[in-house]
Amino acid sequence: MKYLSEYRDPKHAHGLVDRIREISTQRWTIMEVCGGQTHALLRSGIDEALSECVELIHGPGCPVCVTPASAIHNAIHLSMRPQTLVATFGDMLRVPGNHGSLLDAQAGKGNIKAVYSPMDAVQLARKNPEQEVVFLAVGFETTAPATAIAILQAAQLKVKNFSVLCSHVCVLPAMKLLAASKQNRVQGFLAAGHVCTLTGFEEYAGFVEQFQMPVAVTGFEPTDLLVGILEVVTQLEQQQANLINCYPRAVKRNGNHSARQICEQIFDVTNRRWRGMQVIPNGGLCLKSQWAAYDAELKFSLSDVDQQEIQTECRSGEVLTGTIKPSECSAFGNQCTPQTPLGAPMVSTEGACAAYYRYRNNNSD
């Protein structure tokens, strides 16, 4: 068992596609929440194989894409500060802010370093005691535990020159916002499997109850995705709305107990602006007041600049809410490419625009 090739068996994939086609009496609209799922669906061609019976709408589950311009603004501002180093994931460097990206800042006076994990940023702080090391923490519930562990490590090691610019987001509140929207067309959801690995899926029961839509906790390999889609289509055909775990090898009802405990120790839930969307109630995580010493916003008296996005031809907000497909944006593939991105979804490894450019753009390699 490698837990990869077994879930790419063509017989299973074709069998599942045939089954979904057989049982569908109409074209259903299903949202895959996570950007990693979007890439896997487009890469494998599942979206096209099922196009007659399922429209897949790509959800906002790309944390790089939804990180607000204000977070990038604050990170750039800190990177220009004397004796200060901003560390973050490599994905974040090319994301355009209102006044350029972190990479642009790095080419100027900005002191910015890409790291593989927040714990690496703690090590940077230990090695460079003369510098303030600020970790720009982005990501869903999947990356939040690593940020929490980094803070606990810094506390235990008495590292005082480490802090976190916290921009973590929570996925379920965004799903609720989309489902409650008057424009909503989504009839069922593939929930993000790796988020549920940490959080569990119990809290999704309330969502299913409230919105009467089927939710399948779904993994990332072709078979995983097709099993999730088959489950949701089966329920829709039977006019049912249930919560089901289609990723049982990784997801348990209560999630990862250790990770949840660690996160509860460090974070409170807060309202958070998502890029391209709006302020989402309970849509983010912030540090609890007892960890204020590690909160870069407080440590460096950063104002919560509620920056309005600069208007460009980019329609990434509509892409993130599933209102349009990336190829419907007039800038797509012209002014906006992975080399010259106008919006975050074209930059990120999980962004829907990048997926369309890579897998659906005839001019791409």
Binding site: M1, K2, Y3, L4, E6, R8, D9, P10, K11, H12, A13, G15, L16, R19, G35, G36, A40, L42, R43, S44, G45, I46, E48, A49, C62, P63, F89, G90, D91, V115, Y116, S117, M119, D120, G139, T142, T143, P145, A146, I149, L152, Q156, G193, H194, T197, L198, F220, E221, P222, V227, P248, R249, A250, N256, S258, A259, I262, T349, E350, Y359
Partner: protein
């Protein structure tokens, strides 16, 4: 259409998300299964293990999966193991698929 017909889900699917040895790949979002091949540190909160991803070995943080044993598979996300893979659940699901679609599959 082309992707599906060509069976693009089969090969090179995860080329871009394979963690590279030197840590130059700093993307955070993708979770990848890997095998625990050796513990490096078992100090709570600081625990680390060597994980093998299709032949590539990398040191990963284990603070959220401290009970993993050598030989276990874990899913690694942003340099940190987020869960231990449940072999029984995996086998059960694959068995169901094989019975449904009469496939020999791979083991």
């Amino acid at each position: 259409m082309a992707a599906w017909q060509q069976g693009n889900w089969q090969s090179g699917l995860h080329e871009h998300c394979k963690p590279t040895g030197a840590g130059e790949k700093t993307t955070m979002c993708l979770g990848v299964p890997g095998k625990v091949v050796g513990w490096i540190d078992r100090t709570p909160l600081f625990s680390k293990a060597e994980i093998e991803f299709e032949g590539v070995r990398k040191v990963c943080h284990m603070a959220c999966v401290e009970d993993a044993e050598i030989g276990d598979y874990v899913i690694v996300h942003a340099g940190m193991a987020i869960c231990r893979i449940d072999t029984q659940a995996a086998l059960l699901q694959l068995d169901t698929l094989q019975r449904l679609f009469n496939s020999t599959g791979e083991t």
